[in-house]
């Protein structure tokens, strides 16, 4: 069959992300070390020192400054990247809001890790979820190949809709685990991702004052033109997010045509065509769910995986379609809205409320602080839900999987 060369590398999720950042021609990287993110930026600093990546690498003194540097560099027209985890993300919280409100096309990897206290460097998704209301697009990756491809797509999406994108992937499970990854060629990335052209730029030849104090109501400028108040700017931000699925799906499709693989846009499924029971999650947990589904299919149970790829904007319409034929959806959250339930579970219920589609929805909390989630745990949970459904008593409180209390 000839000698067609596939650039398959056996690399970690962090290296898959760093390779993508290099390919995207990022001009400014600023980052502060935190486990398990560190090796992403170690790789990038190595590329810059080796001269194989033509970027400014700013070794900042905190995560707060890391995103501060990215915000400023993006404001003067540079393509920028940063990455963080857990407390680092929390430390940059006000900058996370600012980046979104300033409508800057920043791409940040969040290598998902549990929030302290108590300390844990291991994986769950509480960090990203805590930032869900900041106005970013959040995409969760299921494996290292998807990390590599999604970082490339993220720049395209961010620069199309002028909203920052957080590429989320599970710490250690993906960040430090090697898998085969086909690196996209530079030619293909260049064809996919045009040079960044900012829509507003800070420059002395055309002085502007960006993001000053903005009043509640619209106000006239010097020439008498009525300009937006704070609330109008927020409306436009929300509108951009609600319209962003078109850009997210288009980027994934275009990428697919060019590279030969895509990732489902907003949501995806596995063995779900005839599924009566859907097991739903975001990130690498969906891979374990796939193993559980294969095992349950052996037993003749009509079960499938519902993978949530984009968490913000929440794919309300796509999810309604995805669960239309299901009797039951069991949602496995790796985080918790404390005092309520798993955020994905709550959001799914909200999406279904007025849709006329009403499968039973059960919530499970799994894998907090790196607690191992085995496919047999997932099967046990799914079978509990199925039993509740068959007993005619489908209402069920959120249950914690493999909690030993």
């Amino acid at each position: 069959m000839g000698t067609k060369k596939h650039h398959i590398s056996i690399i970690t999720g962090n290296d898959a992300a760093a390779e993508a950042v290099k390919l995207c021609g990022v001009q400014v990287v600023a980052a502060y070390p935190i486990t398990p993110q560190s090796s992403v930026v170690e790789a990038l600093s190595k590329y810059v020192e080796q001269g194989i990546m033509n970027a400014e690498f700013v070794t900042v003194e905190s995560e707060h400054s890391a995103l501060g540097v990215c915000i400023a560099a993006s404001t003067v027209g540079a393509r920028v990247f940063t990455a963080t985890s857990a407390n680092g993300l929390a430390y940059m919280c006000e900058q996370v809001h600012w980046a979104a409100g300033a409508r800057l096309p920043i791409v940040m990897c969040c290598v998902n890790r549990a929030m302290a206290a108590p300390w844990s460097v291991l994986n769950d998704q509480q960090d990203s979820m805590t930032m869900r209301d900041a106005g970013w697009i959040q995409i969760f990756c299921r494996n290292n190949q998807e990390i590599h491809d999604t970082v490339i797509q993220a720049f395209k999406i961010a620069e199309t809709v002028h909203v920052p994108v957080m590429v989320c992937y599970d710490g250690y499970i993906l960040s430090h685990t090697v898998m085969p990854v086909e690196l996209v060629s530079q030619e293909k990335v260049d064809a996919f991702l045009p040079k960044y052209v900012p829509h507003t730029i800070l420059d002395p030849s055309h002085p502007r004052n960006l993001n000053p104090v903005t009043l509640a109501d619209p106000r006239k400028d010097g020439s008498g033109t009525l300009c937006h108040g704070y609330m109008e700017l927020r409306y436009l931000h929300q509108e951009a997010l609600l319209n962003s699925p078109a850009a997210i799906v288009a980027a994934d499709k275009e990428f697919g045509k060019l590279v030969g693989r895509n990732w489902g846009g907003m949501v995806w499924g596995y063995r779900n065509e005839d599924a009566e029971i859907l097991l739903m999650a975001a990130g690498s947990l969906t891979m374990e769910l796939s193993v559980a589904v294969d095992a349950m299919r052996e037993e003749g149970i009509k079960v499938g995986v519902l993978g949530l790829r984009v968490y913000r904007p929440f794919p309300n319409k796509e999810l309604v379609e995805a669960v239309r034929k299901a009797k039951l959806v069991a949602v496995f959250d790796k985080s918790l809205s404390y005092g309520n339930e798993g955020p994905i579970c709550a959001d799914l219920k909200s999406a279904l409320y007025t849709s006329g589609v009403s499968p039973v929805v059960h919530g499970y909390i799994t894998g907090l602080g790196g607690r191992d989630v085995k496919y047999r745990h997932l099967i046990e949970a799914a079978k509990k839900s199925i039993a509740a459904l068959n007993n005619g008593n489908p209402v069920k409180e959120t249950e914690w999987v493999n909690v030993q209390i």
């Binding site: 001009q27 915000i71 400023a72 600012w98 002395p204 502007r208 960006l210």
Partner: protein, 301 residues
């Protein structure tokens, strides 16, 4: 060599009218800073009185590009501007971060220390009105001992002010200067000099505040002069480690006598009810620093 007031450039970068309080010294200082920078610059400003002076969307009181940033982030934002401009081939533009004393001595010091340690190529200007004036005169690390603020309402601040230029000096940066808008040509010359230097340049400008310090708005320039006359503010610069007194402070050193701080204290409402021993503590702090300044200045002559 020193610029005379009539030799200042005519070009104005501050537009007529701004939202600062009546008698605000920041406006005087900022106007001369902008004249010295000459337009080819980008400003980054955190939450501060300067944000208010700059105007509310969609109007602006200045003719320079300006990026507002979160309170602790001035120096990090400047680092981002420097990196972004370098990456996009516009290194000729001077990046200036300008923040108040709270945004510098307190919440912004981590980012400032980081940027200075990296010797980031920018000018940082702290205008020091010696408290959180924009939020209503709360105590800052730069508030002098004895000053009543809304968070030290009865007894006044119990500690001496933090010496921020000294902290910056420990970073080994190429240029540090202090200034006061009551001596506008000294300020102008220092900014002008800073523009020509590469690396982190730190400037600390005393900014008398009529509402916070409680003196009549017409007396701003006079209060600034008194601050220098009594040594509460010393005008100096440190270029590549070489310390020099400048302007009025240099003359005071030559003439030998500072005015007692008691007079300076007595004309400001913020020191009302201050105890004698606090004034003495203030005086001995000033004397100690002044002796050190004279010694350092003499060493380099």
């Amino acid at each position: 060599m020193a610029t005379k007031i009539l030799d200042l450039p005519e070009e104005e970068y501050m537009l007529p009218g701004n939202r600062a309080c009546a008698g605000c010294s920041l406006g005087i200082g900022f106007r001369h800073i902008l004249k010295a920078l000459g337009g080819n610059c980008i400003f980054t400003v955190p939450a501060s009185c300067l944000t208010v002076l700059g105007g509310m969307y969609p109007t602006s009181s200045v003719k320079v590009p300006w990026m507002n940033v979160v309170f602790p982030s001035s120096a990090a934002a400047a680092s981002g501007l420097v990196a972004g401009l370098k990456a996009t081939g516009r290194e000729d533009i001077t990046v200036v971060a300008m923040a108040g004393d709270g945004g510098t001595a307190d919440i912004g010091i981590q980012a400032l220390s980081g940027a200075a340690e990296r010797n980031t190529n920018f000018i940082y200007i702290c205008y020091d009105n010696e408290a959180y004036m924009n939020t209503g005169t709360q105590r800052s690390g730069s508030t002098p001992i004895g000053a009543r603020t809304t968070t030290t309402p009865a007894f006044g601040k119990q500690q001496q002010a933090k010496d921020v230029p000294k902290i910056l000096e420990a970073h080994g940066i190429p240029y540090i200067a202090t200034s006061c808008p009551s001596f506008p040509t000294d300020l102008y010359d220092k900014v002008k000099k800073a523009v020509g230097i590469k690396g982190t340049r730190y400037m600390h400008m005393c900014a008398p505040c009529p509402s916070g310090w409680q003196f009549p708005a017409k007396d701003t320039v006079e209060i600034g002069r008194m601050a220098v006359e009594c040594g509460a503010v010393v005008l100096y610069e440190i270029e590549d480690g070489v310390f020099r007194l400048t302007s009025r402070s240099k003359k005071l050193a030559e003439q030998g006598e500072l005015q007692p701080v008691r007079e300076y204290v007595s004309v400001q409402g913020r020191f009302k009810g201050i105890e004698d021993e606090t004034i003495e503590a203030m005086q001995s702090w000033i004397n100690k620093r002044w002796t050190e300044c004279i010694k350092r200045d003499a060493e380099n002559r």
